[in-house]
Amino acid sequence: MKAVFIVFNQANTEKVLFMLDQLQLRGYTFWEQVQGRGSKTGEPRHGTHTWPEMNSAIITIVPEQNVDELMRTIHKLDKRNEELGVRAFVWNVEDFV
């Protein structure tokens, strides 16, 4: 099992949820309104007057064989609207109950 951490501009929320449904990935944990800043060009998302936009984040634990498809789809979503931005990070899940 792998954990996929997806961070995205909150304007993408509906699309991300749609994507998980399409890929039949049922389980996820969702943080609404998280702050952050991109490593290269990404503008800060602070929800302040200066940087009014906000991100949201989802972590979903998926079988290893689904990870590749998920990452590809996330990339498509990013390409659809690069200004909004969506990023994903994958790591191993040691164990779960």
Binding site: T13, E14, H49, T50, R80, N81
Partner: protein
């Protein structure tokens, strides 16, 4: 969940809530009465006391002074004035505008009760009279007739007044100058003497033979009859044959002693229209009733009535206050509609999209209609002030919606779906939208707290703008995002067969091809200029300051006049003419015809002249508004409508004045252009002092001096000239010897001269007076009076001269007092100069004058009101600036930033001065209102700019670059706000409709102020920002971070770990 999220998620609820608001608003709009100005209850209470037999000075000391001293402590009293004339004392209390008059009347009553015992015996109980708007005539008709003239009174009473009384909300209806049927019995004193009959005997005989009386019932057999004496005259001829006295077998009949005339009443009050005999019908409304509605109803009914009247009766309207109101409201409504159109066009021009424009335009009706709801709840009306306020509001209510919609559009253009774009786009800006609204509220809300007469006008502006702006903000963060989520279309994006993203519809439309490049160029040009100015701060600042100083010059050079409120051209004139005292009515009437001819000659624009002269002794309430006398003439003139003539009524008035100057017979005259008899704009010079002689002298001197001043017209003196009277002074001893009393003799004299009322002639349910008196030629000279026969109780007659001296004497003038001191008031109307200028000139002359000891001269009138109001306004202005400062300082969390913004306010003032100077307009109360409004707009523009500069700096741009970029980005919103307000005002400044004189100054002030302040704001705010800021000051993080010292600590991780291991 935030309001905008709910709104987007529940579009039906949101839409329907606003539909409901619209419906309720339209409902209240329909219920709103139309009026000239907001209902202002005139804060005057009069106390009238009669003390028969006392002359004016006695009344002053024994009645007026006592009342004044007591009433002076009534709560809320502003000023106390009084008039003491023979037999009557009138004390007028003026309260602060807006105070509760009912409460004041109660107070007055209790203060009167306190001193009532101190008033002299024989003094009547003081009568408290509250002035109310229902006493102003709203409609005046004149009726002229040929053959039906004699019966006009009956016709009008039966056919017109009875019918009109059915109109809803109508108040008092009164006829003035109608020919009343009278039966005069003119006695010949010689015949009386020869038959040895007294006038009283004739009178008693006439009245006692005129009787119907129920005298019980008579029972006859099984039936019962009422017994009646049926002796009343059926026609006036019967009076001739009434037997007055039986001398043996000789009977003396009325016809032997007198001529009986069944005629119309002797003229004491003459009404003419265009020189023909006329009757005036004066119509008043009930307090709070809708003037326009009543006038319309009356006119409709009158049309029906006229058809039933004899054909020779002609009806004309002399004064129709609904007409003034309707014209004013119509031309203002037009301005409101133009403003709406302009605002929509400006939005369309800057946004370039129909859908966006519609979404924004929708906020206008909603915000304005909520203002109607307020007017309805506050019991107000659609009036000049409320419509002006709406025009002002139109430009402001779109601003919030524009900000929200712009941000949503930005999101949509990035390819978000409209729903998300609406949610997140609103989320990003809604707090700052509310903050800017707070600034506007800080400007307008204090207006609701202004007191005085101006307060009543400004209150409405304050509430209307506050309410509509708050509503518009609510709409901007609920309905606007909802509509945006439904109406805005995202860019069409497709995926082609190759799997690539194609963002469609790239063909630029006309707007994108033509307007956008233009606007972009403008943005870039401005940014380029800003960059240059930022490197040449000194020269830029210097030239701005020079401009500022030059622009103030017209004000310092006295080129800007000031008024209380501009006079309006209401197509009517009021003329009061005073001839030499004691001129007989017939002579006055003859002169009046001559004056009318002169007016027709010099003023062809005149359509109708209604002239009244003389006085009616029982004219009812209407006679209170009639200032005519045997030697005073009042003319109400109607001219053709404003757009049908070249000269204004002011010019017409001036030409009439020139004509009147040629008549030596005229003692004083006044040609006033206001619809009501009192002139609105005048300077009063009040001369206080106890001695009549000294004050009269000062008044006379001043009148001569003021006459020389340019623009001083219609100088009237409030103190009547001494008038001659014929006085009967009884010799008490002779009276006693003749067994007579003063009261008995005075009654005999009255019966002979004025007439003895002896019953009525009844016909068709109407009663006509029968009056017995001496025939005219026997009571018209001093010797006639001296020879009056006074019946003695012992029989026989005594000549009046045997009991009393009949002499001519000068009666003391009435005593007018103000602030409990005797006063003479000279009232001066300005023509061609402003009120402030005229007052200033008079003051200058006054300063040079040598006044006798104990005489104080003071300038009052509208000038005083104006000074008071301007004083209040300056205070208010300061309060507003402080509030705005507080709101802005907390918004920016900075003491300095609000200063930069407020620095642009003075430039609004220079714009105002230049605009007033160029257009030659006087600054008045309505103009001041515009100036306050400017503060709101100017400050709003500054906030938009500074807020964005702050933002750019926080995002890490260098100071000057941040300023230039912000300028480039915020130019359009600033221009948009300025243009919407400016164009909204253009119709106001340029309209020439009836009543436009009143709001003209406001349009001029706002336009001038906005042009100057917008341009200057765009330059001075960025420069001040650059001067007053230091590089890097915005970087709070850097500041805080500089206190973090932990990074400099020595790296001891390895050692500490080793230590941990050892411990384990």
């Amino acid at each position: 969940m935030a309001i905008y999220q709910t709104a987007i998620r529940k579009p039906i609820t949101t839409a329907l809530i606003f539909v409901a608001v619209l419906i309720i608003g339209i409902f209240s709009y329909n219920k709103l009465p139309i009026d000239q100005l907001p209902e202002m209850e005139a804060p005057y209470v009069s106390v009238m006391t009669s003390y028969p037999g006392a002359n004016s000075e006695e009344i002053e000391t024994n009645v007026t002074k006592i009342l004044e001293n007591s009433l002076n402590s009534v709560d809320g009293l502003k000023e106390i004035t009084s008039t003491s004339k023979d037999n009557v004392s009138v004390v007028v209390l003026e309260f602060e505008w807006g105070s509760d008059i009912t409460e004041a009347v109660n107070d007055v009553r209790s203060y009167i009760d306190m001193v009532y015992d101190n008033l002299p015996d024989g003094c009547s109980r003081p009568f408290i009279f509250k002035f109310s708007s229902s006493m102003m005539p709203i409609l005046i008709y004149t009726f002229t007739a040929e053959e039906s003239y004699a019966g006009l009174d009956k016709i009008l009473n039966d056919e017109v007044i009875n019918e009109l009384n059915r109109v809803d909300g109508i108040g008092n209806l009164s006829l003035s100058g109608s020919p009343e049927r009278y039966i005069y019995i003119d006695l010949d004193p010689q015949q009386l003497a020869s038959y040895n009959v007294t006038l009283e005997q004739v009178g008693n005989a006439v009245s006692s033979n005129n009787l119907n009386l129920a005298s019980g019932s008579v029972k006859m057999g099984g039936e019962q009859y009422q017994l009646r004496v049926q002796g009343e005259y059926v026609e006036s001829k019967e009076i001739n044959d009434i037997v007055v006295k039986v001398n043996g077998n000789q009977t003396v009949k009325v016809k032997d002693l007198a001529t009986v005339r069944d005629t119309i009443r002797d003229i004491t009050l003459e009404e003419k229209v265009n020189g023909k005999d006329a009757v005036r019908l004066i119509i008043m409304k009930q307090t709070g009733a809708n003037t326009v509605q009543i006038c319309d109803d009356v006119k409709v009914m009158m049309e029906k009535i006229v058809k039933k009247l004899p054909p020779d009766i002609k009806v004309d309207i002399v004064r129709d206050s609904s007409n003034d109101i309707k014209n004013a409201i119509n031309s203002l409504s037009e301005s409101v509609l133009y403003a709406l159109l302009f605002v929509v066009l400006v939005v369309l021009f800057f946004l370039g999209r129909w859908r966006a424009t519609i979404i924004i335009a929708i906020t206008i009706p909603i915000s304005l209609i909520v203002a109607f709801l307020y007017l309805y709840i506050a019991d107000s009306s659609i009036n000049i002030i409320s419509l002006c306020s709406l025009t002002v509001a139109i430009g402001m209510v779109v601003d919030d919606a524009i900000v929200v919609l712009e941000n949503i559009t930005k999101h949509v253009e990035r390819g978000e779906d409209p729903n998300g774009a609406a949610t997140y786009g609103t989320n990003e800006v809604w707090i700052s939208v509310i903050a800017t609204t707070l600034v506007v509220v800080a400007v307008f809300f204090p207006l609701t707290m202004l007191g005085g007469q101006a307060g009543i006008l400004f209150k409405e502006l304050g509430w209307i703008v506050t309410i509509s702006v708050v509503t518009s903000t609510t709409v901007a963060i609920s309905l606007t995002p909802m509509l945006a989520s439904k109406l805005l279309k995202g860019k069409t994006a497709k995926v082609n067969n190759k799997g690539e993203l194609v963002v469609g519809n790239q063909e630029p439309n006309w707007y994108e091809k033509n307007i956008i490049p233009l606007l972009n160029k403008l943005d870039i040009a401005y940014a380029t200029f800003l960059r240059w100015a930022l490197t040449h701060k000194k020269i830029t600042l210097f030239s701005i300051i020079v401009f500022f100083i030059i622009s103030l010059l017209p004000a310092f050079m006295g080129q800007i006049g000031s008024n209380f409120m501009a006079d309006q051209d209401q197509s009517s004139l009021n003329i009061n003419i005073e001839l030499e005292r004691g001129t007989r009515v017939e002579k006055t009437s003859q002169m009046a015809r001559q004056f009318e001819q002169s007016i027709w000659k010099v003023a062809p624009e005149v359509r109708l002249i209604s002239t009244s002269l003389g006085s009616s002794d029982d004219g009812g309430i209407a006679s209170m508004f009639n200032q005519t006398n045997n030697n005073k003439i009042q003319m109400r003139i109607r001219t053709t409508e404003k757009d049908e003539r070249d000269r204004s009524v002011f010019e017409i008035a001036e030409s009439i004045r020139k004509e009147f100057d040629k008549y030596p017979e005229i003692v004083t005259y006044e040609v006033s252009t206001s619809a009501y008899s009192a002139s609105t704009n005048n300077v009063d010079v009040e001369i206080y002092g106890y001695s009549f002689q000294e004050t009269n002298q000062v008044a006379e001197e001043l009148t001569q001096i003021i006459k020389e001043l340019p623009g001083a017209r219609d100088i009237t003196n409030s103190r009547e000239k001494d008038r001659s009277e014929i006085k009967i002074v009884f010799d008490k001893e002779k009276l006693a010897k003749a067994n007579l009393t003063e009261s008995a003799v005075s009654m005999y004299v009255r019966n002979r001269v004025n007439g003895m009322a002896c019953g009525f002639l009844k016909e068709d349910g109407d009663e006509y007076d029968i009056v017995v008196r001496l025939k005219e030629e026997r009571r018209n000279s001093i010797s006639d009076i001296q020879n009056l026969d006074i019946p003695s109780p012992t029989g026989g007659v005594i000549k009046l001269q045997e009991l009393a001296e009949v002499e001519e004497y000068w009666c003391p003038p009435e005593v007018q007092r103000k602030r409990r001191e005797r006063v003479v008031t000279l009232s001066i109307t300005p023509y061609g100069v402003s009120l402030g200028e005229l007052a200033g000139n008079i003051q200058a002359k006054l300063d040079k004058m040598q006044l006798p000891e104990g005489v104080i001269v003071n300038i009052g009138g509208s000038f005083e009101d104006q000074q008071e109001t301007f004083g209040d306004m300056i205070l208010l202005f300061a309060l507003i600036l402080m509030l705005v400062y507080i709101v802005m300082a907390s918004q920016f969390e900075s003491f300095a930033k609000p200063f930069m913004i407020m620095m642009s306010v003075p430039f609004a003032i220079s714009g105002v001065i230049l605009a007033l100077w160029i257009s030659g307009t006087d600054f008045d109360m309505v103009g001041a209102l515009g100036a306050i409004l400017l503060v709101g707009i100017v400050v709003k523009n500054g906030i938009v700019l500074i807020d964005y500069i702050n933002l750019m700096r926080d995002r890490g741009y260098e100071l000057n670059e941040a300023i230039a970029l912000s300028g480039q980005s915020r130019l359009r919103p600033v221009l948009m706000t300025a243009l919407t307000t400016l164009l909204g005002m253009v119709p106001m400044a340029t309209s020439t409709g009836t009543g436009s004189e009143m709001w003209h100054p406001m349009g001029i002030v706002v336009i001038g102020g906005i042009i100057a302040s917008t341009i200057i704001t765009l330059i001075i705010v960025p420069i001040l920002y650059s001067i007053m800021s230091r590089h890097g000051e915005r970087d709070r993080d850097a500041k805080q971070r500089s206190t973090f010292i932990f990074m400099n600590l020595k790296d001891t991780l390895d050692e500490d770990r080793a230590q941990d291991k050892n411990e384990q």
